[in-house]
């Protein structure tokens, strides 16, 4: 009998402690100091990955036969601004990519200009932060070559991508999509501004006319509908100050895992 009551007590107390722990857990996550400690792991992850990756380790490139039949359109499926609609209607003939900020020669390039530049084609895997993956073929201009042409100032540290889509409707415009990467990723050979996907012009769903491919990071870094690339030394003054739309909503800036 004592064994039975003891067991009951054990099971009962275990359940009690678990229930207590469960209700306390959410409060733990909402505590800013605890959150700060938990989030510090991102820096460790980034340092460790940079150490292992070096500057130029390439993401795996696949064969044509590996291209996946489906590729989910995620985030914005079509920016709903009047300005974007007009650009799309004109087949993006009037669209211009601006590169400015901490550069010696700000650039303004049309889609035709970009297509004349040396291009890179790669078949790579796209990993969404949610967990799914799709493989597609991308063609575009290496970002590094454009940045080199614009001449970076010595204080340049990040490339910020300003996009045409507003993923969340807000009064102050903070729902506008933007992303940022540092210069190591910006000059990585597989980091391209893609205008073609699977041998066709980039569709509106996948970010027409131009999207970023930064192959060693997750899907939300692959900014779509790029309008402007600003070279900065800090993104602290931009919207939430965390360097991207999803970063301002709690996701890691370094999305290598």
């Amino acid at each position: 009998m004592t064994g039975l009551t003891r067991r009951r007590f054990l099971i009962g107390s275990t359940l009690g402690v678990s229930a207590l722990a469960l209700s306390g857990c959410d409060r733990l996550e909402q505590n800013p100091e605890v959150g700060g400690v938990i989030r510090s792991a991102e820096k460790l992850t980034m340092r460790a990955q940079r150490l292992l990756l070096g500057r130029d380790a390439l993401a795996r490139e696949f064969a044509e036969t590996d291209i996946s039949p489906a590729f989910r359109v995620n985030g914005t499926s079509a920016p709903d601004s009047e300005a974007y609609a007009q650009l799309a209607e004109g087949n993006f003939a009037h669209w211009r990519l601006k590169i400015d900020g901490l550069v010696d020669r700000p650039l303004e390039l049309s889609l035709a200009d970009l297509k004349k530049l040396p291009a890179r084609t790669q078949i790579t895997r796209h990993d969404c932060v949610e967990g799914w993956s799709a493989i597609a073929k991308w063609t575009g201009v290496p970002l590094g070559s454009l940045l080199a042409a614009s001449g970076l100032k010595p204080t340049a540290r990040f490339a910020v991508f300003h996009c045409a889509d507003e993923l969340e409707k807000t009064l102050d415009g903070s729902g506008q999509y933007y992303e940022s990467i540092d210069l190591i990723d910006a000059f990585h050979p597989q980091t391209i501004l893609a205008y073609r996907m699977n041998d066709q012009d980039l569709s509106v769903g996948h970010g027409a006319p131009l999207r970023l491919r930064v192959e060693r990071q997750l899907g939300y870094k692959q900014a779509k509908y790029i309008m402007r690339i600003a070279i900065v030394d800090s993104f602290a003054a931009l919207w939430g100050g965390n360097g991207g739309f999803w970063e301002d909503r709690g996701y890691e800036w370094y999305a290598g895992i």
């Binding site: 938990i38 792991a41 390439l58 799709a134 709690g250 895992i257």
Partner: protein, 290 residues
């Protein structure tokens, strides 16, 4: 690390009278600390992992996989005869799981979610938070495991306490232990000083098998690590295969924990708990041992 009292050797020098209880030092302080740190890490890793799984509750094999691609496991919600229901589909077999998996109540309302709020961390849906906690505890878990590995090798703990002896895997002995376990007859007296062979194999299987598999399949989910070590993709057959194996291995760890806790309870919960907290483990001396 070994200058204190080594584990699994008796500390009390006094001679034990017949039929009485003696205490031995069973677990070293490193083993005890790493054990409880593991409990903490694995609890958070499991619950934050289920939070992450909920963001995309399907499993695939291969390099890619999403939505309409063939999935071997789906946890979802649908409607039948106008009523919402939850299900788990494995291959072509669908099992109704309303209330727990696929569809469960959140503050009294039915909500489609693969794992229910009481199994995920945070309880509410928050992928960003789930990821942050998962990776924080993944680091703690890996560092803890490396310290234990170093200690286990250098102190002789692995060799002394976990290495399987030749006579233990002799079919006769092995069968004997299986039968004893099935009858819930656990080693007593002098035999209780050492791990039995099934225990050893279970611990070795977890520490040298499941846990490294967990870490490697987890790392394969990282596009960064895949660029550094593309061999991982070949080893596991692609990122989506690695994600599935990560889930399956986690499930096996849950099975291990259930069996482990059951064994702890069946073979003397207080004595086992005491030995993992203070290190002291009681052995009832049989008259024949004296």
């Amino acid at each position: 690390m070994n200058q204190e009292t080594p584990p699994l050797r008796s500390t009390p020098p006094q001679s034990a009278p017949r039929g009485t209880t003696v205490f031995i030092r069973r677990h070293s302080v490193v083993t005890r600390l790493s054990h409880w740190l593991n409990v903490l890490c694995l609890s958070f890793l499991l619950m934050s992992g289920l939070q992450i799984f909920n963001a995309y509750p399907q499993l695939h094999w291969g390099q890619y996989g999403m939505d309409s691609d063939p999935a071997f496991l789906t946890v979802g919600a649908g409607e039948s005869h106008g009523a919402p229901h939850g299900f788990v589909r494995i291959g072509s077999v669908s099992v109704p799981t309303t209330g727990v998996l696929g569809l469960s109540k959140v503050e009294g309302e039915w909500a489609p979610q693969a794992f229910p709020t009481w199994l995920t961390f945070p309880s509410y849906q928050d992928l960003a938070a789930g990821r942050n906690w998962h990776f924080f505890f993944a680091w703690v878990f890996v560092i803890n495991g490396l310290i234990y590995l170093g200690y286990g090798v250098l102190s002789g703990h692995f060799h002394r306490d976990l290495a399987v002896k030749r006579h233990e895997i002799a079919p006769r002995h092995f069968w004997r232990e299986i039968v004893d376990h099935a009858r819930l007859r656990f080693p007593a007296g002098e035999d209780a000083r050492h791990y039995n062979v099934l225990q050893k194999l279970a611990y070795i299987g977890v520490f040298a098998g499941l846990l490294p598999l967990m870490i490697l399949t987890g790392l394969t989910l990282s596009p960064g690590i895949d660029a550094a070590f593309p061999v991982l993709l070949d080893l596991f057959g692609g990122r989506q295969s690695a994600r599935s194996l990560h889930f399956i291995t986690a499930s096996l760890l849950v099975v291990f924990v259930i069996v482990h806790v059951a064994m702890v309870i069946l073979s003397g919960p207080w004595n086992n708990l005491r030995s993992m907290v203070t290190g002291r483990y009681a052995i009832r001396k049989k008259e024949s041992d004296a």
